[in-house]
Amino acid sequence: MGQAIAFYGLSFFILFFAVLVVSTKDTVHSVLFLVLDFLFVAALYVLLGAQFLAAIQVLVYAGGIVVLYLFVVMLVNLKRPPEAYEDPHRRTNLGFALAASVLLEVGAIATYGYASPAPALARASEVFPVSGNTEEVGWLLYTSYLIPFEIASMLLLVAMIGAIVLAKREL
């Protein structure tokens, strides 16, 4: 029951933010809503016991891919609606506050992290005994699915060569 509520709740937010992504006029806002959307999808993975997938979702999608999107949005210099320019310093204080809180947190981790020693690495398997964690995925990739894994490396090589071919100047 609890899981069903959590599932429908998360699904609602995923759909809600997905609609916001396509309906906002400001492209930067749209990308930021996408980050939120990805985070909720990651939460859905955690709910299913797939912690590894959730971590990858946050790292690769919310982290890497969205940064790429932001670069593209800034490079193509889309026209933003005029209200975005009304006061450039309006949110400066908010930005400072956020930066300060992140710094505080980093500082706190640095201080207390060393004060109390981290739990031994061997206990990681006791914390996540469920299947779907990193160990399990790694095991499958290097045993049963070794050959598709190897082919995927060829696929990535093709993509890399392709990017070079399309991006380089004519010699």
């Binding site: 050959i147 082919i151 696929l155 093709v158 392709g162």
Partner: protein
């Protein structure tokens, strides 16, 4: 815990390993060789030859390897040989074309080899993961190859269109595949077939079938998922268009047969109906649209859409005979299509793109051999005896009638009659119209060999089809057809 992969699994993947190593060799050789060296195409052909040689020890083999990720059987072997042959013909017609376009050849040959690798994995895979990763390897290579002539805007447009629509269709296909996995709990197609037994009326499974049909429909360019094909075929470099229309289509049909005949026999009533509708629409719209084209590559694009419709008849029949006919037609189609594109490559010169219908005018006076070859390919595409195209269509329509799809066969025959109009129009331009350009087209020796091979194959398979028939029949028999046979009966 499932056991890992053993060393013997890798020996069965020898052709794929040779091809991978060879493609890397080509990539490195491109850097090491001096500029203007002409060794690279020969090296590529040598790699393809070595891969073909590595296929030989597995003739007659019939087993699953790597915990059911790949099947080593006659069906896979048949397709792998076809891909290697098509790739070699493509390389042979590419040499002068690349010189004229001023494109750097190294990565081009590497990408041709990588797309061939992807196709081989698609044909051998009996697991959703394997076929999907093969499909991706092939598709990504083709996205880049389509846009390989960077200064050419049409080439850029082709690449972007193919990439965007390809990614979109892949999403649909993956959604269907994920439903199949979710409902059966396995990605192996053969295990899946038993897991689905008795679930014919599950609406979720029906949704999965519809989504996979749509995704595969894009890959084989069936109407209404064909809109990318004319633009991509027209804009891509001509040898790439040839390889795309032959290799990509054959590989997608191999994957389609594996998924539907081996993985989803219980749903055959649904997907046969879907494919029947697709076949009718694809044949009719493809042929009607081809009638009005004045650009040769565009015309051949619509003609290849129509041929996808004919080929789907074999899937609809679903019998061993239907699949045999399909395999035969795929080989026949490959040779006549590659030959026709080789002639278009020949017409490309520094001052002329050569892919308009009027560029062919008076070809008979200017280059009788090329005109004769093109005449033969056009007659074969139209299905006139004694060419191979006639034999191919004969078996396909025959298989459809035998399975009780008489209406489908009649529509197919009517469509072939319509298609004759635009194939014969090409012949009229070559033999009747006066020449307008005034310059002599020349064939490089490699291109001449390509055309000659295609001519000989088109005639030989039409006059003496027995050998091809036996090979195709053995390949069709090696598919696991017990499920579909039970479902149809």
């Amino acid at each position: 815990m499932p056991p890992g992969v053993s060393l013997s699994d890798f020996t069965y993947l020898l052709p794929e390993i040779v091809l991978t190593a060879g493609s890397l060799l080509v990539l490195i050789a491109d850097v090491l060789l001096p500029r203007g060296s002409r060794v690279l195409p020969w090296l590529t052909i040598a790699v393809l030859g070595a891969t073909a040689a590595a296929l030989v020890p597995f003739a007659g083999e019939h087993r699953e390897i790597a915990n059911g990720l790949f099947a080593i059987d006659q069906f896979a072997l048949f397709f792998k040989a076809l891909f290697i042959f098509a790739a070699a013909m493509t390389v042979m017609m590419s040499v002068r074309y690349l010189e004229i376009e001023g494109a750097s050849p190294g990565e081009y040959y590497f990408l041709i080899l990588c797309s061939t690798l992807g196709m081989m994995i698609m044909a051998g895979g009996i697991d959703l993961i394997t076929v999907f990763i093969g499909l991706e390897t092939m598709a990504v290579s083709f996205y880049i190859l389509a846009g390989f002539i960077k200064p050419n805007q049409r080439s850029n447009e082709a690449a972007v269109k193919y990439f965007l629509l390809g990614a979109f269709s892949l999403g649909i296909l993956l959604y269907g595949m994920s439903l199949m996995y979710g409902l059966s709990g396995t990605t192996n197609l053969r295990v899946m077939a038993t897991a689905f037994a008795g679930q014919e009326r599950d609406p979720r499974l029906m949704l999965a079938v519809v989504l996979v049909v749509a995704g595969m429909g894009f890959k084989i360019a069936a109407v209404p998922f064909h809109m990318w094909a004319p633009d991509v075929y027209e804009g891509s470099p001509t040898p790439v268009t040839a390889f795309l229309s032959v290799g990509s289509k054959a590989a997608s049909f191999a994957m389609l047969l594996r998924i539907f005949l081996e993985g989803l026999p219980v749903m055959s009533a649904d997907w046969r109906l879907l494919f029947e509708a697709l076949a009718i629409v694809t044949m009719t719209i493809g042929n009607l649209a081809a009638l009005t084209q004045s650009n040769l590559k565009r015309m051949l694009a619509y003609s290849s859409i129509a041929h996808a419709g004919y080929l789907l008849m074999g899937v609809v029949a679903g019998t061993e005979r239907g699949i045999t006919a399909m395999l035969i037609y795929l080989v026949v189609y490959s040779f006549m299509q590659l030959g026709a594109f080789a002639i278009i490559v020949m017409l490309r010169r520094r001052d002329m793109i050569g892919d308009e219908l009027k560029d062919l005018s008076g070809l008979y006076q200017r280059h009788p051999f090329a005109a004769f070859a093109m005449l033969l390919f056009m007659l074969s595409l139209g299905g006139i005896p004694p060419t191979a195209g006639f034999m191919g269509k004969f078996w396909l329509f025959g298989a459809a009638i035998e399975s009780g799809y008489v209406g489908l066969a009649v529509i197919g025959v009517l469509n072939s009659a319509v298609s004759l109009y635009y194939y014969i129009r090409v012949v009229v331009f070559m033999y009747v119209k006066k020449e307008t350009t005034g310059s002599e087209p020349t064939m490089s020796p490699m291109l001449a060999v390509t055309v000659a091979v295609a001519v000989v194959a088109t005639l030989a398979m039409g006059v003496y089809p027995r050998l091809l028939f036996e090979l195709a029949e053995a390949s069709a028999q090696s598919l696991r057809l017990s499920g579909i046979a039970a479902a149809i009966r």
